[in-house]
């Protein structure tokens, strides 16, 4: 099945933007990010720093691959795989009952504990990443397509940030409504 190039363009850029911001957070606060990796307790303590560096390297590769047309199939597969691994990592810790660890999703500024919603969100994003690598229908892109890409990116970006904020608010709302019982 072939998909319209404009749709895939939006998906590609949106995912590239997502991974780029994630990388910037992780690089700027590498210490915090390493602590987050350690808190997930999925790699032995000695391998925490290499694992953190590997994650950042993979994310940088995804950003680059999604921006270069020829690399998009590879970038889309790696992005989908990474997002699925994140979902699995959160799922494993939820199953262990360690639900108070920081997700590490959006840097230390906006701490949010892991939850089932984050597993769902990451799986949806993985699906979107998979879709971004789909076969493209032949069609020349005009100025309107680029305009569409731009506004769609703005909409997706603000919706994503709003979701992040809502997820960060959720535990505080719960605490607030139970504190006065």
């Amino acid at each position: 099945m072939f998909h319209d190039p404009a749709t895939l363009l939006v998906l590609r850029f949106a995912l590239a933007l997502l991974f780029a911001t994630a990388c910037v957070h992780k690089l700027r606060q590498f210490g915090e990010f390493r602590d987050t990796v350690a808190d997930y307790e999925l790699v032995p303590p000695a391998l925490v720093t290499p694992a953190a560096l590997l994650v950042i390297a993979i994310e940088l590769f995804v950003v680059a691959a999604l921006l270069v047309s020829a690399w998009v199939p590879a970038g889309s597969i790696v992005a989908a795989a990474v997002l699925s691994v994140y979902a699995a990592a959160i799922g494993i810790n939820l199953a262990r009952g360690r639900d108070s660890i920081d997700c590490g999703c959006s840097g230390a500024a906006l701490r949010q504990p892991i939850s089932g919603w984050l597993v769902l969100r990451n799986l949806l994003l993985a699906g979107a990443a998979w879709w971004a690598g789909a076969a493209v229908a032949e069609r020349a892109l005009g100025p309107w397509d680029y305009a569409l890409t731009l506004v769609a990116l703005c909409a997706l970006l603000s919706l994503y940030l709003a979701t992040e904020q809502l997820l960060a608010n959720a535990p505080r709302s719960r605490r607030l409504s139970s504190a006065y019982d």
Binding site: C154, A162, Q165, R172, R175, L176, A179, Y180
Partner: protein, 202 residues
């Protein structure tokens, strides 16, 4: 016909973008409200001993071999802050710098004791990694059990007679300071304070 569709599509996209931005702004505002309005005090939990109860006396040995007495009269007339933590609790780790600075500012009247339980080797690694050697660090499951500590990080402030002056779950510097404040004002917890304020207003 096609012109109308194009116009409507352009208009719809504009509306979608504006709506998305409005939604984002709204949830941001909710986030700010939460930061300002949340109960800025240590939340004390219902189970376990209450403020005003005496803690049974414990004779314990710190991780570095020092003798530590918890409970009972303090010979120097000093208060003791018991900080319950665990190497596996991420929030505890973020509070350690706060705890160190509070220990310095309140050292005229307060001793700080860190209480953990679990594997001793793991504790030693934790102490070394977080540079806690200057603090009194004891590993005792009994103390936590007798005070019925369920959630971490939890603090219990004992006055000079080994009586609980304040206690609560702490997640931030404000929470920790509220415990000192609560002891100073003789209020058991933030809940009690809010109730008293409510009574005054009513």
């Amino acid at each position: 016909m096609i012109e109308t569709l194009v116009a409507s599509n352009v208009l719809l996209w504009l509306v979608v973008v504006v709506l998305c931005v409005v939604v984002l702004a709204l949830v941001r505002q909710i986030g700010v409200l939460h930061e300002r309005l949340g109960p800025v005090g240590a939340l004390s939990l219902s189970q376990g001993p209450k403020v005003g109860d005496e803690v049974p006396r414990f004779d314990l040995t710190a991780i570095d071999g020092r003798y530590v007495k918890v409970g009972g009269d303090n010979e120097q007339g000093r208060s003791t802050l018991l900080f319950f933590l665990s190497p596996t609790c991420p929030v505890c780790k973020t509070l350690l710098p706060v705890l160190k600075s509070s220990r310095r500012t309140e050292r005229s009247w307060l001793d700080v004791v860190l209480v953990s339980d679990g594997d001793l080797d793991e504790q030693k690694v934790f102490v070394a990694a977080n540079d806690l050697s200057e603090l009194t660090y004891i590993v005792s499951a009994d103390l936590g059990i007798s005070l019925r500590i369920g959630r971490l990080p939890y603090v219990v402030l004992l006055d000079e007679h080994g009586v609980i002056g304040a206690q609560g779950l702490v997640n931030s510097r404000e929470h920790l300071e509220s415990v000192f404040e609560a002891k100073e004002r003789g209020v058991a917890s933030i809940q009690q304070y809010l109730e008293q304020q409510g009574d005054k207003v009513a």
